[in-house]
């Protein structure tokens, strides 16, 4: 589903060049739940942003469903993000003065769905994350865990095939983090591919696949191996 070939990303300033990603090769199949781990500044978020087409890359290629995203127009990339990819951010990124319903509705509007279709999808998503009763609340009236569940509802309401989560539990306590992870696992079981950046070894272990990045290079990509085994290799 996702194929990265010799992908590199360089951040340039007037004085220095920083290789955020070097010759990354990666294959992610449909339905996988992969955890991306690595030290701060290793390139995890950059990789996730490139996968989400929020950022360009300098070299190599990125095929999504067998088609290169290189050179796609803004409209095509926007459509691709809207229809195939859902985002979950560490700080939720909900619009503060929008109701829960309105927040979830945003990506559906950009897809041009009818109001009745939007409503149906939002209600299904809210049902899944258990916040149906709070559809008219503002984000500020919810706990952090609930806000992240709203963000998840927004991400899945458009029924994307890939969910990109950047430290989705980073701002949550352990109980709420566990609830969010359970929700992600539930979504993954429905067939949605998930790539999740995390610092938490426990969460990485719960993901079906563990990908580690160090200094912009993919050191290993293992299926169903514990983190300790990867680090020891």
């Amino acid at each position: 589903m996702i194929t990265l070939t010799n992908l590199s990303k360089i951040f340039r300033t007037e004085l220095i060049e920083t290789h955020a990603l070097r010759d990354v090769n990666l294959q992610v199949n449909e339905g996988e739940f992969a955890a991306l781990t690595g030290p701060s500044g290793s390139g995890k978020s950059t990789l996730l942003n490139i996968l989400g087409t929020l950022e360009n890359f300098d070299e190599g290629d990125y095929l999504l469903d067998g088609k290169s995203v290189k050179g796609l127009s803004d409209a095509a990339l926007s459509r691709l993000r809207n229809e195939k990819i859902g985002f979950i951010f560490q700080s939720f990124n909900l619009i503060k003065d929008f109701s829960i319903f309105d927040n979830i509705e945003l990506p559906l509007r950009y897809r041009g769905l009818k109001a009745s279709d939007r409503k149906q999808r939002i209600e299904q998503a809210l049902e899944l994350v258990g916040l149906h009763a709070r559809r008219d609340y503002l984000p500020g009236q919810l706990s952090g865990g609930q806000q992240q569940r709203v963000a998840i509802a927004r991400a899945i309401a458009g029924e994307p095939r890939i969910l990109l989560a950047d430290e989705p539990t980073g701002n949550l306590d352990s109980l709420m983090a566990r609830q969010v992870m359970e929700l992600l696992e539930q979504i993954n079981q429905r067939g949605c591919t998930i790539l999740m950046v995390t610092h938490d070894p426990e969460q990485a272990r719960r993901a079906g696949r563990h990908i580690q990045i160090v200094d912009g290079q993919l050191h290993d990509s293992t299926l169903y191996q514990p983190l300790a085994a990867v680090q020891g290799a």
């Binding site: 560490q90 990124n93 950009y110």
Partner: protein, 435 residues
Amino acid sequence: MDNLLHAFALALRNIKRAPLPYLLTVLILSLGLGMFFSNATLYYWLNHDPLPQKSHSLFYPQINSVLQPCDSCTEPMRVLSYQDVQKLSSSGIPSAQAAMFQSAGYARLPGNSDVSPTPVRLRVTQRDFFTLFDVPFLHGERWADDTARRELILSKASAERFFGRSNVVGETLRLGNELFTISGVLQDWEMLPRLYDVANGLNSARSADIYLPWETAFDLGIKSNTTTMSRDERDYSDNFAVNGREGQFYQAQFWVQLDSPQQVTAYQQFMQQLVHSEKEAGRHPRPEANRLTNILDITEHFNARNRQLDAFALVSLLFLLVCLFNASHLSLNRYLASQYEFGLRRALGCSRSQLQQLILADVAVSAALALFLSLAVAAAAMSLIASLLPATRNLTSWNPLMVLTMAGTALIACYLVTLYPALRASFGSLNRQLK
């Protein structure tokens, strides 16, 4: 439609999010636009063509007819004498021609001798005046010919002021000590700018209250209350009926209607022949300086352009640019504060063109507010200008086309103010805003 309403709802929500910066932006913009609109209004009225359907055919003839020799006097007088008018009227070429001057007097109803007479503005003229400038009649008609007659034509406002109604044809009115019959009442009519009177400078006061036949004015000794010049030793305060007609008393404006280039050429040749025959008769000692000026060139010809208003217009344009710059700066701050939201929208699948639609709705709401406020500012500014320059008092109205143009200008100004912030929002890096 649904998305359009959503875009406008968001635009209104943007006001609630940061009301002070928003209102400050709109206020600065409105000040700039208001000042610009007020000056543009005056500029428009002073420079627009008041008779587009026939302005190309209206001309002001002049000849250098003063009898005192002067070799260096190469420009004719601005106004003509009775004799000049007689000579220039004799060609038979124009389809209409009329001499005229402005005067003033006092009028009252004949039976009301105990009531103080009312001051009135007079236009002394000939019957073709109403044809030349397409003056519409409400009741009655123009004079049957140009002979002296005790008949007046009233403006509608004057008829209503004196009689309380407009249809007063056949009624009598006392002008000075003389009794006149009213032969016509005009519809509400105003020619702006009043180009037929530019010989007297920027004359944009209201049109005349009463129109008086040319020959009658001479009989009664009524003279111009603006530009008059005498070039001989006659006593024009005495026996004006004779002296005014025979002497070198210059006060008249004279307009002719020449409908084709052939007529214009023929009239120019007529003027040339007239001057040559006058020279031969010893009545044209000064250098030949015939002028035939189109009505649209008359302001420049008499150097009657109001330079103060030109300067005001330039200053207001510069002020608008400064306001646009400041509003743009405020707008940029407002948009930068929302940059994260733009990034989020784009991450969720909003394309640049969809984002521009949202911004355009924001622009439209700002423009509507700015237009409303700027019209209020413009009205206040025009009232101030009118008090400083009373001659402009009549040039401060707006027609629907002007309001539409102002709305378009407000929209463009708001778009310009938002352009840079909008581009920043659309092309900014997505990932830096989102964590």
